[in-house]
Amino acid sequence: MSFVEKMSLSWLIVLAAIVAVRGFTDSDPGPGAAAATPLGGDRFKIEGRAIVPGVKAQDWVSTARVLVDGEDYVGFLRTDGGFSVNDVPSGSYVVEVVTPSYRFEPVRVDITSKGKMRARMVNYIKTSEVIRQPYPLQIRSSGPHSYFMKRETWGWTDFLMNPMVMMMVLPLLIIVLLPKVVNTNDPEMRKEMEQSMNMLNPNPELPDVSELMTKLFSGSKGSSKASSSKGTRPAVKRR
């Protein structure tokens, strides 16, 4: 006897679960959705609240509207940021808070023919996917809209970090600084360098650009300093 009672109780629970599931079947895409119900059916209310963190609701509600499925149903925001869109028949809708100043994510709201509500994330590609969101809606702004591109501003760092400039500046530094670091007065050293240069330069007839540059720069230095050792070298070659 008690067993039968238990059975019936569990049945009831199962039935209740089925009913609960049934409650949302028509919100899924496909057949049986509420758009087919006649217009004279029950009308429901979508409620919620929009919040812009750090900004008083009074400062932005006058420019805001709540749009349900485009402009099919329109709601306005109360002075505290709350809103309700009245007279909405059962179905599935995308609810959006629009204002030119702040960005709000849209929410999909499903209303069954009995008036049960649920809110979920909008996913246009997988329309049946359900990621629940609180209902009554709590829509939090993710910040102001970004309408503008940033101008490409010109700064010294941009200029210096440019790879082309880097390629120019680094060799220049080497050319200027190397003669100072390496003692060119040492004849052994010079011989060694000339040898390595010859090794690198297969055709000694061709004028070497880097050599020319070193000559030019060391030459100008030499002239200003009027140092004998530096000044003589190009002069010797000329002779």
Binding site: A36, F76, R78, D87, Y124, F148, W154, S223
Partner: protein, 968 residues
Amino acid sequence: MAKLILLLLKCILLCGTVYAVFEDQVGKFDWRQQYVGKVRFCHFDAHMQSSKKVLLATESNVFAALNTRTGEVLWRHVDKTGPEGNIDAFLQNGQDAVLVVGNGRFLRSWETNIGGLNWEAVLDSGSFQSACLIGQQGTVKNVAVLKKTAISLHYLSNGHQKWIENLPDSDTVDYQTVYSGGNSEVYVLGVVPHSHIAIVAFSGDDGEILQQSSVEAPWLSSIPESCQMVDQDLLICVDSTTMSLYTLDLKLQLQLNQIPLQSLELEVDPDFRPSLVSHQPNPAKQPRSEFFLQLAPDHYVLLQFNNGQLVVLRDFKPALLVSFATTGEKTVAAVMSPKNKTVAPSSQASSINLFNAETGRRLLDTTLIFTMDPNGGKPEKLNVQAFLKKDDSVGYRVMVQTKDHTLTFLQQPGRVLWTREEALSDVLTMEMVDLPLTGTQAELEGEFGKKTDGLMSMVFKRLSSQLILLQAWVAHLWKLFYDARKPRSQVKNDISMENLSRDEFNLQKMMVMVTASGKLFGIDSKTGGILWKHYLENIPSNAAFKLMVQRTTAHFPHPPQCTLLIKDKDTGLASLHVFNPIYGKMSHVSPPALPQPILQSLMLPFMDQDYAKVLLLIDDQYKVSAFPSTKYVLQQLQEMASSIFFFLVDSNQGRLSGYRLRTDLSTEQIWEVALPTETQKIVSVKGKKPNEHVHSQGRVMGDRSVLYKYLNPNLLAVVTESTDLHQERSFVGIILIDGVTGRIIHEAVQRKARGPVHVVHSENWVVYEYWSTKSRRNEFSVIELYEGMELYNSTAFSSLDRPLVPQVLQQSYIFPSSISTMEATLTEKGITSRHLLIGLPSGGILSLPKMFLDPRRPEMASEQSREENLIPYAPELMIRTEWFVNYNQTVSRVRGIYTAPSGLESTCLVVAYGLDIYHTRVYPSKQFDVLKDDYDYMLISSVLLALFFATMISKRLAEVKLLNRAWR
């Protein structure tokens, strides 16, 4: 992996290259004008003496607050269009405004200071009749809403219902008015036409019926039209058949007391229905005992109830409009009367005067002159804002509403503070016309025209024109210098008719706008200033307009010419209005009378000897008439008749038919396509823009071969929607038909989809948007037509000789928002890439590159597709706010977007119109033909200077070195 990274990089690059606005460009070449629509209810915010606000509820379902000093919109709330957002009543109490919306469906209370909603209440269904505020002991706490069968009372603080009562005998009695005189009783007045008045008095506290009676009134048919409440619960009615006033005390409710007008020595104009104007300054108190009685269109009488006696205080004739206003304890009557009695009142100034309401005496120094615009309409309504001056006398400002939906706000002695052209909230169609050349420019152009002169004279001419140019340049420089010293605000608005001339790149044009009210506007596209306006009277309310530019400004000295075809949608009868689009003047060319209903109109590409394009009108007998119809034109028409084809669309019968013109200007049907009306209906037919240029004939593929576009100028895109709206069976169809031969090029059906469908048809593609009922989302679909790898006849296109069927490619995408309207950008030569401009319900105008809507987007990126710059297919199109061409300047209820080419190939001029008007320029491929406005002149010049000095210095050094060397 590497490929993926490359792809990502490419995507980023592509996204980076599309157009966006820079922050410093705000307001540089764009402007927006906000409108509210034709005013239905108007209240001046009077709860504070210093308030600068006027609250307007309009026929466009907009509730807005304007700044009375400047006329700018402080805030605005745009409701749904149509009867569901219709504002039925507007009551004001302190800083709260109570609106009844949607035939009594909603009751809304707005906080007028910040423009936010206090509360919204849903009322029971039932057709709305009347509403009023209920006051008790000097404070207003409730609002009463009268429906056909019930009356309900709501708390003003939260909108909750206090009580609701059914009305007795509501099936026979037509309850029309609800009234409260400051005590707790609420009177509901109903009428049984031509029988009696029914009066029900409810207790304001609990809705109990205190009294119920009926009074014989066989002459009465409508209470709001002929009755008003005055004094202490006194109903006063006027009847034209018995020429009498009737009074009824609602408290005693004995019987109507008849007062013949003759006993007051007044007479009603024959054929005029007299009316009453009364005033209840505070809903918690009884109405004033003074009221106006209108006896003729221009005759008003101020009457007063004095201890049960009617007294005539003052007779106003002629008087156009009257109004009461109260400030503090003083009530005044404002009367507008024509200033000069002899001239017709529509074309001159009128004066407004204040009168003491209690005595009827004129108040001194209260005259205000209102000068009517000769191109506007007659005044329709007078709204008076009265205020107390420091010396306790009454000062006032008035807002005059005229028939052409203009609001003019004036203060004494006639200074116009601002005007608003609310007709512009309802623009139906528009065109952009090039501005004329200036005299000097025209002279320069003329120089190249004739070559008959001798050498010397030509040299002389050349020199003199150069001199003129120099002179103009110097003058321009001087003006620049002069303006630089003036504050910026003064410099801006000096555009006027005199200095209208084309700029270098033809970026400034004249916008000719046609509004639903029948008012035409000429607006300067650079500043948005209205340069001319012209009000066409007697426009039928359901008129359809078509605006055509017959002659552009290029044919100096012939003036440019625009023709507006106005057609009554019901009868089909049409009329033509020919005008000069630059100055707005009526043309001296008299348009032909059109006795027959017009079916179709078309502009032919050829011109008459005066360079006006020929307009063909086809009437319902399929007879063709031409305008202008000179001998030359008729002769030309006869020659060209064999190549003139046109089509007619009959959406009721689902029929598309093509016709050919015969030489005797009759027509002959050559094809017909019938769509079964049981299953589908034609919703729109779109051809291509006649001024569209296509630069490239084909597309270069990844393997260097060319895919030729199918560029048929006669192609029509016909959109159909299913009549069955069940979401399983509804569909949207698109048919591409050749307009000359009637050949169906392509047909596509989108199952489980419904409208509204938005279509753009251009070049070789059609883009359309629909609602997918299956997935509950908006989808875009693009169809592109290609001839194939070789062109059939590359020199000329003929619809009659195209044996090959084009290749059709189609692809669809998800769009994450519904759209209001859609248009494609247009440039001078069609070299610039195309963008789609999409008006969104949120008010943004999205500039979406056509590149994203390309049916050749591959699913997997290959080497060749990358070569071609094709973006791999992604199902969802993005809405990025950076792509909004109007940044935060939202445009409400975008109805249309107009695009026009400018003189610069990179630049396209865009006008979005709806409730607001927004104009900007867009650069779909960035500004490739002019220096950008952020061009760094400083950097370039400093680098140049630095280089110059560097060469100088190094030269000097080299010289020194050479000298040194020579010395050695």
